[in-house]
């Protein structure tokens, strides 16, 4: 029993205070306004306050803290991307993740499980090798492994996949991890709050005022704010915010669904991803299997679930793990993914001065939470993109300078 739990038994009063304040009203101006109280927005606020001393900052959240994709993902964290830009960026994120629990003094259950991306075709084997080689070039533990290695790490897997799509190999990424997603938002929220950042929940942005190409303020359901710097970190809602400032983007919005099983005794240590079967799965510390699959096939700005998703995912789960026949699915849910044509984010400055964008997080946003916060804080503080995100600029599309992460991802998790 850790000593720090002792106080709970021996205190007369419950020895905890609010994790974040609930300010009564908005102030009339802030040095910066962050739209979106999810992981990314809160992380940006945290690093702005911690690293740049910018504390007169408001985070505006339409719903509740971490209620968007931060609380709707399957919590997989990895850095085995395909492009040098992606690899460097996510690797920095992994580095930050390692210490977050201690930084926050909040257990995020950052759990290093190892990550297998299965290859069922020779084309997939080639892509895995490509990723492994690029990863290793940047010092990331990533290697192509044979079926025997996979079987050893995951004895219950049927490597023939019911005869439909035999596993030919996998990309093994030892640092692959999972974390308790909600706690990430709370940790950043608490950290930002303690440094003076105001977090305003149930505060919806209705307009953004732009004069002579510069941001001057934000209109909300709780009043107007003047500010010269606005960060938009709202994932699936980005096109709606962009509409307020008249910007167009390649973002397209599709739901991304997931489901979770009843708890069972732990049997699955690593995270398993199969591109061909559109499956990814890990087992939580509570014993549940968290399972996901590919994007929904058409645009929708809603988090409804579909039965066909559950049916398809169940069939593929059983192809991989036939022994799960008697396991029950408890709950389905969905997030709203903001996809980009090259499966890389859109980050940095925009044609509107003082309006910064942190978007295009599609199916890969959770793992980038720390680094996106850090680099966006830098970008806002210096009004200059952080070197790690230069190639993710919105302008890359007009310039035909796409990033090319799509090549790696039939399942992007």
């Amino acid at each position: 029993m850790p000593l720090r739990l002792l106080k709970f038994a021996f205190s007369r009063e419950y020895p905890e205070t609010r994790m974040f304040r609930q300010p009564d009203r908005l102030q009339s101006s802030y040095d910066a306004v962050i739209i979106g109280g999810g992981g990314h927005g809160l992380a940006a606020a945290y690093y702005l306050a911690r690293d740049y001393g910018m504390t007169h900052v408001a985070v505006l959240e339409k719903g509740y803290l971490g209620g968007g994709n931060t609380g709707r993902n399957t919590t997989i964290i990895r850095s085995n991307y395909l492009t040098p830009e992606g690899v460097k960026f996510y690797n920095e994120s992994m580095r930050l993740w390692q210490d977050l629990s201690q930084d926050f003094d909040l257990n995020l259950f950052y759990s290093n499980r190892g990550h297998f991306t299965l290859a069922h075709t020779d084309a997939a084997v080639r892509t895995m090798r490509w990723r492994a080689e690029v990863n290793k070039h940047y010092g990331i533990a990533s290697e192509l492994v044979d079926p025997e290695t996979i079987q050893k790490a995951c004895p219950l897997m049927d490597l023939t996949c019911a005869g439909h799509a035999p596993v030919l190999g996998a990309l093994y990424h030892a640092p692959g991890s999972i974390a308790r997603h909600d706690a990430v938002a709370w940790g950043y929220g608490r950290g930002a709050d303690r440094r003076g950042v105001e977090i305003h929940q149930q505060t919806e942005v209705l307009g953004i005022t732009v004069r002579s190409g510069k941001v001057t303020g934000v209109e909300t359901n709780r009043g107007s704010i003047s500010t010269s710097r606005v960060l938009c970190a709202v994932a699936g809602f980005t096109p709606r915010i962009l509409r307020l400032v008249g910007l167009r983007s390649p973002l397209y919005i599709h739901p991304l669904q997931a489901m979770v099983s009843e708890p069972m005794k732990p049997w699955l240590d690593p995270i398993i991803v199969s591109g061909s079967l559109h499956v990814y799965v890990s087992q939580t510390a509570r014993g549940e299997l968290v399972m996901g699959a590919s994007l929904d096939p058409y645009e929708l700005h809603a988090t409804r679930s579909t039965l066909e998703f559950a049916e398809g995912l169940a069939a593929h789960m059983l192809d991989l793990f036939p022994c799960l026949s008697h396991v029950k699915v408890v709950r389905q849910w969905a997030g709203i993914a903001d996809m980009t044509p090259d499966f890389a984010p859109i980050m940095g400055k925009t044609p509107i001065s003082g309006f910064y964008l942190d978007a295009g997080w599609g199916t890969w946003g959770f793992k980038a939470t720390p680094v996106s916060g850090k680099t966006m804080a830098y970008t806002i503080a210096h009004d200059r993109p952080h070197p790690l995100i230069e190639s993710f600029a919105l302008s890359r599309f007009a310039n035909y300078e796409l990033v090319g992460e799509k090549g790696a991802a039939s399942v992007g998790h």
């Binding site: 096109p239 983007s249 973002l251 058409y298 645009e299 929708l300 700005h301 066909e308």
Partner: protein, 87 residues
């Protein structure tokens, strides 16, 4: 499973269809500047609303237009491309 009204085959489950994205008329490639062209190629109307979309009934390879609210998933109407109307 959602039902999609195909103008030829009637109401069918969405599993019989392929989604073809929003209808985006191509600008005259010889008349537009590079930025306009790049915007046509890459940019989308990402915000939700009632949109005209391409859908293809796969078993009959029938392309047609669906007017759908991408916020509520409600379908207003569907018709063949040559009956294209403005919304």
């Amino acid at each position: 499973m959602k039902l999609i009204p195909c103008p030829i085959n009637g109401l069918r489950p969405v599993g019989e269809f392929v989604y073809g994205g929003e209808v985006r008329p191509m600008p005259d490639p010889n008349a537009v500047d590079d930025d306009t062209w790049a915007s046509y190629v890459f940019n989308r109307t990402g915000a939700p609303g009632v949109k005209q979309e391409w859908w293809c009934h796969s078993p009959s390879n029938t392309w047609f237009i669906v007017e759908r609210n991408t916020l509520t998933d409600e379908i207003m109407q569907s018709y063949l491309y040559d009956e294209m109307r403005t919304i």
